[in-house]
């Protein structure tokens, strides 16, 4: 069966969904092909732009951006494009009932608190994750819920105390009683967040936190302040209990990424984007440097005028490898990797890894380039982790690159 749309986006992570949304704003017909739900739904809704530069923590991503290596996606598309994409995203989220904000003027990256007791640099975050208030706080209560997986106040406090600016704080850990009775599995923050979306759940959280109000300056909570209603729940509780509430960033399922995923998916549907799920793209029909259609595992032919490929990296299937060789999975674009497999690994476990960096080389308009710098495919743009030249894990730039390149790829595809 042959399907035709103006623009075809492949990949349902943050990059793909952003590309589909911005492409749809052009009024053209957009199809989004998904294979798996993308990593956003288990991640957070914070947008890290650049947390580390040259191995050092940085406060000002935009000041150092121009000094990144030339092959970095931010350098390819330019600082201005990154800024415009972030502004667009802030506005989009606000319109969808999810306020994300950048750090106050002159403050530099947000320092978010994680359930591992570490701080994490990020650029955009919702009010509930903003931990700036912790600097002036003296007494801080750290909460978990009985039977909750992966959130342990003693570990969090021990770790946080390693940071000089937190060493003198009065931290105290508490366990709230579990509201889910007879659970046959460990409770996660997501279970509680979903419960808190209901009136009973909100009442439970309010009643259990009330006893601590007035005794602490800040409450550090797992991300449990609701799902769809999270923003209202957080505001309501903060106001009624008259305390600063900070949701810690959790490990998967990290809750707030699912909040953003739901917002994006709803918006895609409202904008009329046609969503086809469980579609694994295996090959492409390319003629004279122009892609005509993509073929799925089921033998479907997905035709379009413009294509955005946001299929992710090695783990998501966007990149394929065998010893000494790596290539982009759909178009079989060879990636620049050393033939000697020994050179692929790094003895430094927390250092930069080729597996995280390898990816498609593109021009400023995100179209793929060959080794000589000539455009390989006229109507195909790449966005997100399938791009090469950056190490999202080391730099803390994953969502930032996904968002900025997704926004640009979708916008440019819409203009063709």
């Amino acid at each position: 069966m042959n399907r035709k749309s103006d623009i075809l986006v492949v990949g349902s992570g943050l990059a793909g969904m952003t590309a589909a949304l911005t492409a749809a704003a052009s009024g053209k017909s957009v199809t989004l092909l998904c294979y798996g739900a993308g990593s956003l739904s288990i991640s957070s809704d914070c947008i890290d732009v650049l947390g580390y530069f040259g191995g050092e923590r940085t406060k000002e991503p935009f000041t150092v951006m121009e000094r990144l290596p030339e092959e970095h996606p931010y350098r390819k598309i330019g600082t201005q494009a990154v800024k415009t994409a972030l502004e667009w995203f802030e506005k989009f989220c606000a319109g969808a009932g999810l306020d994300l904000h950048k750090p106050a003027e002159g403050e530099g990256n947000h320092e978010l608190i994680t359930v591992m007791g570490t701080t994490k640099p990020s650029w955009l975050c919702p009010d509930s994750h903003d931990a700036a208030c912790i600097r002036d706080a003296k007494h801080i209560a750290v909460f978990t819920v009985e039977n909750m997986k992966d959130v342990h106040p003693r570990l969090i406090i021990d770790q946080l105390k390693h940071y000089p600016f937190l060493a003198d704080k009065d931290f105290q850990g508490f366990t709230l009683p579990c509201p889910i009775k007879d659970a046959r599995r460990n409770i996660t923050p997501l279970d509680i967040a979903r419960y808190v979306d209901k009136p009973d759940g909100l009442r439970w959280l309010h009643e259990n936190l009330e006893a601590f109000a007035g005794k602490f300056d800040v409450f550090l909570l797992p991300p449990i302040c609701g799902m769809e209603l999270a923003q209202n729940v957080w505001k309501k509780l903060s106001t009624e209990l008259n305390v600063r509430i900070v949701e810690m960033i959790s490990i998967p399922p990290a809750v707030s990424g699912l909040r953003l995923y739901d917002v994006l998916r709803k918006s895609l549907n409202q904008k009329g984007v046609y969503l086809a799920e469980n579609v694994q793209i295996l090959s492409a029909d390319v003629e004279q440097g122009k892609c005509r259609a993509l073929y799925s595992e089921e033998g479907q032919r997905w035709e379009a005028d413009e294509f955005v490929i946001a299929t992710g990296g090695l783990l998501s299937g966007g990149i394929s490898t065998e010893p000494g060789k790596a290539w982009e999975s759909i178009f079989h674009i060879p990636l620049n990797v050393p033939a000697d497999i020994e050179a692929w690994s790094s003895p430094d476990i927390f250092g930069s890894s080729l597996f995280a960096r390898m990816g498609v080389s593109v021009g400023g308009d995100l179209r793929p380039l060959d080794e000589g710098g000539a455009i390989l495919l006229k109507n195909v743009r790449f966005a997100g982790r399938v791009l090469g030249g950056y190490d999202f894990a080391l730099e803390k730039s994953g969502h930032g690159v996904a968002l900025a390149t997704g926004w640009l790829a979708g916008t440019l595809a819409g203009k063709e």
Partner: protein, 401 residues
Amino acid sequence: MKHRNPDKCVACSTCVVQCPVAEVTSKFLGPRMTGPASERFRLLNAGEDESLSYCANCKNCNISCPQGVDVANINMLARTRYSREHRPSFRDWILAHGELEADLVRFFPSSLVNFGMVNPLTKFVLDAIGISKKADLPTFARDQFPALFKSYRQPTLHKKVVFFPGCYIKAYAPETGIDLVWLLNRAGYNVIYPENFCCCGTPLYTNGFEKDARKNAAVNLLELKKWREEGIPVLSLCPSCQLMFRSEIPIYFPELAEELDGKTALDDAQEFILSCIEKGELPLAGAEQNKLDVMYHAPCHLRAQGIGMPGLELLKKLPGVHAVNADAGCCGISGSYGFKKEKYDIGMAVGSQLFRTIKDSGIEQVATDCGTCRVQIMHGTGHPVAHPLNILRRRLDTTRR
């Protein structure tokens, strides 16, 4: 029976987040734990956890998995292995063998049979064996598909297609099958319905009746092979039947699938109609033009197939029809799951988001491709629910205005 390799799972928890059952009940360990994680213990012959029965086999784990792990299939294989040593209940036998029951009741007037099903006494008895008295069971059609088809006069046409109706259309919604025949005739195709075709086996397999499911698969594949060799496409309208043929038979009964070189998929009847429209065989000019708002629900077993939403595309092609996708998750019925006494409330909680989306939309007419989704949505909302082909025919057939 081979175990599925659980090691493709990287334990990322995407399926846990997207599982509609885990969302509403903590009785279910969740797809990751019940599927790939437990599979490692099953390889060591460790005992089975009762939480396995809570998997609804809706396939949202398969759909959401970024690594291509077929979590729900791992669960169903485990359930089958378990059922070999622990006989499924009488209730599960009843729910699994709907086709046999339909065969028995067709000799009685449907009004009598349906009254027999919905009266308080029957409800009480069904509830006692474990079928929720709160559930609306589908009602038998007055004439089942085989009888209706036999008396239906098709014009003489040379191009041919074969139709696999599945037991839902056969017993409960034969008019949808007839609508397809009408549309195919109009597009120039004569429809063949081989009476050898039987239930695809989905309700049998998911309820633990492996042998019966295998028997059905063998019969169906033999028939399918025959038409394959003649070069005539075999169409189906039921998402769950299609999923069984396309991706489950090769996993559950690989030795049977080999007979067809693993190419066991049926063709999607609505995709076929779409291509008829594209080729100009089924012109839409002359269709009723008046305005109709439709909210479409994509069944999970359709989403799992990776073929998009042909029913929604058809609706969007109709002049005057404004169709929107509900995109509000699973309806909660999962075949026979939501009828079970201990699962009824779970099914309704799963469907609540869809029900709310429909009610809040202000749109009266709902459309979906799956028969049991239809029953569940009507039960949860009270809105009329049609198959997209019902709407297509209604707007094309001038004799029906």
